[in-house]
């Protein structure tokens, strides 16, 4: 195959606030273009694609190569690189952006700029991308494209007068977007003659091919047989296959050269060897330095995950190992809880990541899980000068050994319409936020900046934000670092026994309130026993809240009518089924739900 004309390649991504129409626009773009150049059509690689299809390989998200015949009569190759849309994956977003030369900024013609829009634009500009604004949803009755264009110019400072006004839903004016991609997104630079330098922006594990590395070649070229080296992890391997992304398929090709986006397989068995952000180079002719911006992804949020059925522990381990093959950001290590038995302390990028993993374990691996309250990494400075990074509250040293503790903070930005500013400020205040600034974006909307402790936003901050602003607030954050804080460990005692899986770290100022709510919640969740069960919240030996589950005194027996024994049996079975989901702590049976109930303390 002849080399592709570098000047005809456009590498770009689409950025948007959630719900502004990113995916719909991506679908339209793919629809309006072709997947192959006319030359490639003749090459008859369709059979190949079928084979791929049989193997069931699909490409993650929507990183796809498409071919566009522009109005100038030339065929252009577009590489549309999808970016994950959540703050949890901020680092991945930044690496995806680094693989692009331009970005389409989709703004909702009715809603205008939102917090994520800003965050994404700044991120794109940081990567020197040319940002191409597009006004979407102009078919909505409430659309105000003129106002939104003004907003883009005023707030972001982007020239937007000729921004295409489109409806991704109806397909209106999509051609304008395609033409602007050709005109405004620069062709990639770099030279195929330089030493290989390619950026990894994603990877996935396939049981046939091993690790598949998604990369953007910045300099040089890579082909089958090239001995490649990952500059950060040091892993070395021989390239088995290179190719690019069809719609849902991997399409092999001879080589990937400077400016191209594609994949490499190289008999690598572990995604840990191919960290997102790392640079791939030619082991025999390495580039001088890696591409900038690599960092090792660290888990931010931790929780314990336990199989509901203790016998499923090996299954859980296998499932986590399999998920980890595809998800370098997932961490886990075995831990033991007195209450829950054997399980794992797992680390995640954020709460969404946690939820995704939890859901996949339950759905794809059919595991019934008990998850403990998520926490962050606290730094515990001990009297003896030692610093512990604490992920499991149970491991907190005795208070007498602790000099002070630190907790992670974030810089948070909330974009909110003016009527809800008060409510949102109250919320941030309640969550121990430190006010930084407020800027009016226009008359009716403001951007609030707060410093917030990460542990205050990992539970239900997002839900609270939405409910207190009736959905009008948008939110984004980035890690700021650690700050000293008055933290205590809150223990829960059920029938006088401490339940380790229910302990958590909390700011001393909110400990009383949290303890009280927790006891109330547990009272609802724990069924009555033959004896009275006290539920207590305590800091050290000091009890700060108490509730009691009354003893069961009488249950009623239905008249067994017309010999309908099956009904009676069902009733008893239901009761027994409930028991199965219980954990025995001392002589108290606690439903597994109770361990999760601590996540939902703020019910307003």
């Amino acid at each position: 195959m002849a080399a592709i004309d570098q000047s005809k390649i456009r590498n770009f991504c689409i950025i948007a606030h959630i719900d502004h129409g990113k995916s719909t626009l991506a679908d339209r773009i793919i629809e309006k273009t072709g997947l192959l150049t006319s030359r490639e059509m003749q090459a008859q690689i369709l059979d190949n694609m079928d084979l791929e299809r049989e193997r069931g390989i699909t490409i993650k998200a929507q990183t796809v190569r498409i071919v566009y015949r522009a109005k100038d009569g030339e065929e252009y190759i577009f590489n549309l690189i999808d970016t994950p849309g959540h703050v949890d994956f901020n680092y991945e977003v930044s690496r995806s952006l680094a693989a692009c030369d331009g970005a389409i900024l989709v703004v909702d013609a009715a809603q205008g700029i939102e917090a994520q829009t800003l965050a994404n634009v700044y991120l794109a500009l940081d990567h020197d991308l040319d940002v191409l604004p597009v006004i979407n949803k102009i078919d909505l009755p409430s659309a105000e494209p003129e106002r939104v264009i003004e907003e883009i110019e005023d707030i972001i400072g982007l020239e937007a007068q000729d921004a295409p006004r489109i409806s991704a839903k109806t397909g209106l004016n999509i051609e304008d977007v395609l033409e602007q991609i050709v005109e405004k997104v620069p062709a990639p630079g770099g030279s195929p003659d330089n030493p290989l330098q390619a950026l990894i922006f994603d990877s996935l594990y396939d049981s046939y091919k091993g690790v598949i590395v998604f990369c953007r070649v910045k300099e040089g070229l890579v082909r089958v047989g090239t001995r490649i080296q990952m500059m950060a992890t040091g892993a070395v391997a021989d390239v088995v296959e290179v190719g690019y992304f069809g719609a849902g398929q991997f399409i092999p090709c001879e080589e990937l050269s400077a400016g191209m986006v594609g994949y490499i397989t190289a008999s690598l068995k572990n995604v840990r060897d191919t960290q997102v952000g790392d640079t791939v180079t030619d082991a025999n002719r390495p580039c001088k330095e890696p591409l900038p911006g690599y960092k090792k992804v660290n888990s931010m949020v931790f929780c314990g995950m336990y199989p509901a059925d203790g016998a499923k522990y090996p299954d859980l381990r296998d499932a986590l190992e399999k998920l980890q093959l595809n998800d370098a950001a997932l961490q886990f290590e075995p831990e033991t809880s007195i209450a829950l038995g054997f399980g794992f302390r797992c680390g995640f990028l954020g709460l969404l990541h946690l939820e995704i993993i939890q859901e996949r374990l339950e759905r794809e691996y059919n595991l019934d899980l008990v998850t403990t309250a998520p926490g962050v990494i606290y730094k515990v400075h001990k009297m003896n000068g030692e610093v512990i990074e604490l992920t499991n509250p149970s491991n907190l040293p005795d208070p007498s050994e602790i000099e002070y503790m630190e907790e992670p903070m974030v810089n948070a930005e909330v974009m909110v319409t003016s009527e809800y500013i008060g409510a949102i400020m109250d919320l941030c205040q309640e969550r121990r936020g430190i006010y930084v600034s407020m800027e009016y974006m226009e008359e009716s909307r403001a951007l609030l900046k707060y410093e917030l402790p990460l542990n205050e936003i990992i539970y239900d901050f997002f839900d609270a934000l939405k409910s207190r602003s009736r959905g009008y607030a948008s939110f984004d954050y980035e890690m700021k670092g650690y700050a000293r804080s008055e933290l205590v460990k809150l223990d829960i005692l059920i029938n006088k026994e401490e339940v380790d899986a229910l302990s958590f770290i909390v700011h001393s100022g909110t400990a009383y309130e949290r303890g009280r709510k927790m006891c109330e919640k547990l009272k609802e969740e724990i069924p009555r026993h033959l004896f009275e069960i006290p539920i207590q919240a305590a800091i050290g030996s000091k009890v700060i809240a108490r509730e009691t589950v009354k003893a069961m005194r009488k249950d009623v027996l239905a008249k067994c009518y017309g010999g309908d024994i099956s009904r009676k049996r069902k009733l008893l079975e239901k009761q027994k089924e409930g028991k199965k989901r219980m954990r025995q702590i001392g002589n108290v049976e606690i439903p597994q739900k109770a361990f999760m109930s601590v996540l939902k303390l703020d019910d307003k």
Partner: protein, 410 residues
């Protein structure tokens, strides 16, 4: 053929349950399969029921029917002639034992001399009268159609006509009821001296008008909180305790958790249910236990009136298609052990270890080692030389104990 089938049912004793799903109006708390219906529907239903009796009796030729129970709904909404027709068909098609117990459930507001006399004539020897309360205010609350005075009149009438075995159904723990209110109902009933008293506590069942009124309240009560209208758990407990004290002092013996009888007047039909005697249910939605199989008729009236009856013989032969279609549950050994325990323990005399061993070829102490020990430690069971039975405390939390004897995965 008949011989063979009789062998399959193992026991040659059996009981018959006949369901009459009609009533004058649905009571506020009622969760049973019953509905008001017009004359034509009732007539149609009776003829279908008689057809079903004829059809299914073929499979039970060799069995001795020891009890017949006409339940509902309110069987007494049918005309005495219709009742007579049904019972005649039963006598014609089944072999009733000499001393068979033949019970009809009646609404105390709907009896008269003619009805009662005819009941007597067709061989009904036991009346079960749904009084529920001796306080008219409570009867209104329950949505009953009769008053206490009407009941007393009809009760005396029944005695006049010569019924010597009468049960009175009562419900305790009604909304707003105090322990004293309940005692008054019991006292009034005791004055009449029926042979048998069933005293259940109210269950607020989903789907009933009571559920929309007191469902929340019931949930509070279940959690041991303070409900607004329903009596609290402690009161309910006292009501239960008072029932026992009062009735026992008047010569009644509690033979089952909620059933009391004078000596020799225990309801054989119900005891049959607890002891696993085979029974055949006829009529809409009726449940049967035959040859270690549990199955039920359709509970859709239209379908019952139109549809063909599944062949009982085919079910007893365990023809796979029929079993599947009719949703027949074939009880395996473990399930039968479970039933032996959770049904048998409702009887105050408890369950027999000898009988258990004989039936399942494993000792009860072996099959239920853990459970027996645990419940004894908790003071809920007494383990005697042969019999294992609930303690007073065990009766109070019987669902908890009975549920413990389920072994199989649902």
């Amino acid at each position: 053929m008949g011989q063979e089938l009789a062998k399959r049912t193992k026991d040659d004793r059996m009981e018959l349950y006949l369901h009459i799903p009609f009533c004058v109006r649905k009571c506020e708390y009622c969760d049973f399969l019953s509905m008001p219906a017009g004359e034509t529907t009732r007539r149609h239903y009776v003829s279908r029921l008689i057809e079903e009796i004829r059809e299914k009796s073929n499979a039970c030729r060799e069995c001795q029917v020891v009890s017949v129970f006409l339940g509902g709904g309110t069987p007494s909404v049918l005309s005495p002639r219709q009742i007579a027709g049904i019972l005649e068909a039963v006598r014609e098609c089944f072999t009733l034992s000499q001393d068979a117990e033949v019970t009809i459930e009646c609404n105390p507001g709907m009896l008269d001399r003619e009805k009662l006399a005819l009941y007597k004539e067709v061989g009904i020897n036991r009346l079960s009268i749904g009084l529920q309360s001796a306080k008219n205010q409570e009867l209104v609350l329950l949505g009953r159609v009769h008053t206490f005075e009407e009941f007393v009149g009809n009760y005396s009438l029944a005695r006049d006509i010569g019924f010597e075995n009468i049960n009175i159904d009562l419900i305790s723990a009604l909304p707003g009821q105090t322990v004293r209110d309940w005692e008054e109902t019991l006292e009034k009933v005791l004055e009449l001296g029926p042979e048998h008293i069933s005293a259940y506590s109210l269950i607020v069942e989903e789907g009933t008008p009571f559920y929309s009124k007191y469902g929340q309240d019931d949930a509070v009560r279940m959690r041991g909180g303070h409900p607004k209208y329903l009596p609290e758990e402690e009161q309910e407990r006292s009501m239960y305790q008072r029932t026992r004290e009062l009735l026992e002092s008047h010569g009644y013996r509690r033979y089952e958790i909620s059933n009391y009888a004078k000596k020799g007047r225990e309801c054989r039909h119900n005891i049959g249910y607890w002891q696993g005697v085979p029974y055949l249910g006829l009529g809409l939605g009726s449940a049967s236990l035959m040859g270690h199989m549990r199955f039920s008729n359709t509970d859709c009236l239209e379908r019952y009136l139109e549809g063909e009856f599944p062949s009982l013989e085919a079910i007893l032969r365990k023809e796979p298609d029929i079993l599947e279609k009719e949703g027949v549950v074939v009880l395996d050994r473990v399930q039968r052990m479970e039933e032996f325990m959770f049904l048998g323990l409702r009887m105050m005399e408890g369950v027999s270890k000898k009988l258990f061993h004989g039936r399942f070829a494993v000792r009860m102490e072996e099959a239920y080692q853990k459970e027996l020990r645990k419940f004894q430690q908790e003071g809920l069971l007494v383990d005697g030389r042969d019999k294992v039975c609930l303690t007073e405390e065990g009766i109070a939390v019987s669902n908890y104990v009975l549920g413990g004897f389920l072994l199989s995965e649902p």
